[in-house]
Symmetry: D2
Subunit: 378 residues, 4 copies
């Protein structure tokens, strides 16, 4: 099948996440990155494009959407990897032209932006895919499938956490660019750690358990001197249907790099998974010894094997999980181009609904915390 012609907005210079998207788009060889508006100025964009071997560079995403839509060989899809506050405008520009959008998370920096984008997606003749990349990990897929199949019985408890330590010291005052925009409400939105990483934990908890969070009691804190956004957040969760949970997000917990961890317990068993060791899934059927299920190993099911590339014991990592989102995005794009409905084409891919859930999660956290941790509906 021909590769999909891809453009990119953002991701110039030394931006971390742009490079990740580019590698992820190459791993399964489904995309050709041929156009970009990579930086905030035409000059910087052109320099980045040349350095990356991207043939067509534009001065702005508006210009790019216009020009590419007009070409016969224009891009079919675009990756948006800018800071959060640019997501909505950029996505709407491409959707309006029927160009499929692959957008980094969280959806936007404000709920208003998010709602406007939601409308745009509903009206668009194109797909909107949100890269909640952790859903691409094979053992996450297997965990979801096991719960769906009833291996845990009714779900009672969900424990999610995502601690990091990179903001323990006030890095934003020391010229670290990542730290600057991620702690700036104008560019990141109302959530600090809850927006940046709490959304990942929330998304994963729902994706795996198959449950929706109904209300949240949240206690947000800022430990960095003068920091405006939360860098540590404690939450209690109530899920629709009755399950309960806890969620911890932190950027100030020394000894944690990207220690996203999910534990789900039901009446018949329990599952545990850790992002830093993603090829392992621990499964305890009640009353039996704990089992270590490995990616593509004995015990791996179709759900994980179908998104694995190499044999068990040869670890896949973050980039492969991310690549699965791109690979499935390619499938989905080709499917709708072939006439499939958007819903059927999306499959388990995270889209606008997951994005809206994330925005409501951030807002509920901030609101609850402002109300002394009162239970707040999403």
């Amino acid at each position: 099948m021909a590769r999909i012609r891809l453009g990119m907005v953002g991701g110039g210079n030394d931006a971390f996440i742009g490079g990740v998207h580019r590698i992820a788009s190459r791993i399964d060889d489904r995309f050709d990155l041929i156009a970009g508006a990579l930086s905030s100025t035409p000059e910087k964009s052109a320099a980045s494009a040349e350095a990356l071997g991207i043939p067509r560079s534009y001065g702005s995403f508006e210009e790019m959407a216009e020009a590419e839509a007009a070409r016969e060989d224009g891009i079919e899809a675009v990756s948006i990897v800018t800071p959060n506050y640019v997501h909505a405008a950029a996505a709407k520009a491409f959707l309006a032209k029927g160009i499929h959008v692959i957008c980094d998370k969280p959806l936007t920096s404000t709920l208003e932006d998010a709602e406007a984008l939601e409308s745009a997606v509903a009206e668009a003749d194109a797909l909107f895919i949100l890269t909640h990349n952790y859903t691409g990990y094979p053992m996450i897929r297997q965990a979801r499938a096991m719960i769906e199949a009833g291996d845990l019985g009714d779900i009672r408890i969900v424990q999610a956490e995502y601690p990091q330590d990179w903001l323990t010291a006030p890095m934003e005052n020391e010229g670290v660019k990542q730290a600057e925009w991620r702690t700036d409400p104008a560019r990141s939105g109302a959530g600090g750690s809850v927006g940046d990483i709490g959304t990942h934990a929330h998304n994963l908890a729902c994706f795996v358990s198959g449950l929706q969070v109904e209300s949240i009691a949240a206690d947000l804190q800022s430990w960095g001197a003068g920091r405006k956004l939360d860098d540590n957040a404690h939450m209690m969760l109530r899920f629709a249907g009755g399950a309960r949970g806890m969620l911890w997000s932190s950027q100030v917990a020394p000894g944690n790099e990207n220690a996203l961890k999910l534990r789900v317990y039901g009446e018949k068993g329990g599952l545990e998974w850790s992002q830093e060791d993603p090829n392992y899934l621990w499964f305890t059927p009640l009353g039996e010894p704990k089992r270590l299920i490995t990616r593509n190993g004995a015990g791996a099911s179709e759900a994980s094997q179908s998104v694995s590339r190499i044999p068990g014991g040869h670890p896949e990592g973050y980039l492969e999980g991310f690549a699965t989102i791109y690979n499935e995005a390619a499938d989905a794009i080709r499917a709708v181009q072939g006439g499939a409905s958007r819903e059927s084409a999306m499959g388990v891919l995270p889209g606008i609904a997951a994005g809206m859930d994330g925005m409501r999660f951030i807002n509920a956290c901030v609101t609850s915390s402002a109300n002394d941790a009162a239970w707040t509906k999403l």
Copy 2:
């Protein structure tokens, strides 16, 4: 030094915790167990005493307190290992006679009982020691000492959890005696998991961090059909001085045996410890690689070495941690017999204050949960 003459109340038959106390009292050879009121009837008590080689058996603790106090070679101390609701009365009986009390936790089954006992302790001419045994683990001692020495800087976040799985199915309806009394409010008190194991996590969080919990927002649940007490509890914590925390206790999380875990984070570093692997303490000085400190290994400090018995790499376990409480109780008893003040004799040993903290913790959990998780002062 001569061994201390010890009696025991409760602990007959196949009671789990009585046997633990007896082994703990023998390991360091500081006690002779010579008297008991081990069961609910004189006949059962006598049978248990004979089976255990305990020379003097009594029909009740009242009788035992009376008789032993009258003997020249009577017991100097007594271990109380009954279900919670008996603790207060038994302890008061011995304290009134000047016999030192070593009592299992939680302190009592009601706050009223606890307050009465508190008064009795204050007036008594004897020590009251509460076996919060996890404080006896060497690496817990080291963690406490490191925090006290400032190795973590100001403490910001405390994460404590104690999940088990033994009540996932309704064992109390299947004739399991342990499950029966631990799920019965009349014998256990108002707290289920929060009383039985949440108190351990709370105690350890405070013991190690050196902080006091000021208020709690708690969400208690009962998953077992018809169960009257909580078997799963989610809590957010606010400590005096500003630190924040979370606490999870559960008896319905399949795959967890006694998975008590404590993590403490400060501005300069983090510590992690797990009861199931107690000889290890993970320490991350901010900006440096994580270090695995082992009991009696390189990196072990005086605080842990002084309560270790064997070389590093030869694991000590639960019984040795428990024995340390007994060993220090022996030191304390000899010290007050030699004229030391009760306070100086107790050292870091948990006593009535820790017990009252635990009772207030249980009550705050139950009250908060009844008020939709409103913040509740301890």
Copy 3:
């Protein structure tokens, strides 16, 4: 049942292993330690005995054997915890008086001594028990039982290792007493690491697999400057029946405390166990996920539960494994006193045969290494 009257030879001062034996003898309350010849002089012995609360002290083991045998209330059994070169003479003195012997390993310092002791045991009217304490770990018992039951099918491969690091630097030249005698051929025998810890790994490999080592190819080295005995040894093993194995013992591998590890593989599955985390046994049935079997947890069998004291998730350690040897020694002594045959009384307890196997193992290692690692029969 009445406690067994016990004496001890060696174990004065700060000797490590004597204290271990004493604790182990107390844990299950089967022994009263009432007599000792604890040190090399009557004065030191008496001082140690008094400090330990042992009522009768002797100036030598010969004197003690004589005197205790003559008393009606004399010791029934004796623990020998001296350096290796004293084992044979002491053991023979007590065996000759019909006093049961519990002896530390390795059996003796020379094969000649061992053979003389073997004869003495054969002729004695008393039991000889060798404290290969690692055989007392519950999960080792379970591993042995699983292999005996055929859970692994025919055994093909045995991987054993026991690395330490305490002799990496030349401690024996720095006044460390343990290091002095353990590196001195006159007091330890022909084997350094192979005698001190290689024998443990060899014993455990055979105990668990149910196989006997038939021949060894060994490459022994001394890394410590001027050290006369091996401190690192590499071995390849051939077992009777065809299985093969490797064994590594080391005292110079930085980062290893007492990292005894055993892995056994058969045609139907594999088992893995590590002494530093002894409550876990990893079992992989071929073609299924790895299972984590825990002591007294789900999956624990009678073989491990019968030698466990406390619930799963509450770790037992080195001292409890050691105590199991003492507990079973008490059973065995009472059994032969009651008329049972010595063989039936011993059960799985290690005795003179295990000791002779260990001596032959040491000699084969030394001989093979001297012959450029030629295969050498045991």
Copy 4:
């Protein structure tokens, strides 16, 4: 920099390793795969090429070498990913045309072939790179750099192992293609497990320690019924300079997927690394606690950071390590095209010398084992 024009020999159908090379060549975007002779027949090759979107397909590698060398836009480099016995002929064909060769390991199936290829490489005007991919793991690079920098002092002991379990049952008799050729001497060469995976462990031991194996004592076994090549091998190693080691390779150890593990001990410290958890490197400076160094985390040095793509705590895996070999191959090719010497261009990339070492290792293993494990020079 322009991408390198790449061809591929082998790797059609569902061959495992061909797909790995293709992904590895894409991850860092340094190659365009534009030509292939992917299968044993022109028809199959063409079908595979079309399915993979490779524009030019050839019926044989000879034809491809001829035709591509004649084109101005012909391939600059070729990846050889056939079964072992084809490596030598294919590599020589391309080297003779000045086309750089990236070849899978082991070098060839016979020592004769290897020597002929060695000559061809010496005379060629092109680079020869052998994909000992495990050398591309960041923490392996760091381990090598730490040892080179003297962090461990003089190296004493190297423990290497590579157990798998996929041949525990006789898969080659059940139609598994991978199992068929890997157990066939005509296609694999004289070594079974020692050739397939023992060479990886040997290569890594030398790469990291900076030492060369001087002689080997090997005990090779075949456990699979009727299997002609070894599937389990025990080895003792003597390194030039005096260090000693052990090496275990196995394909019949249930519970092991690709459990390559390396441990190196020197007079000042120890290092441990496991391929299944490749983002971690354990370092113990003698007398200090063990440190967990993570890829791109605190403690990561330039040696590992320079071959890392994403932040610490976001795991990289097997494919990224493999991609580093391709990335450095691209650097090397551009360097020699720019006039650099072959030696300087290669840097730490494994080449013909590493390949010859591997062949001598296989031969020494087979020879030693045939001589009852006599020490055999490489």
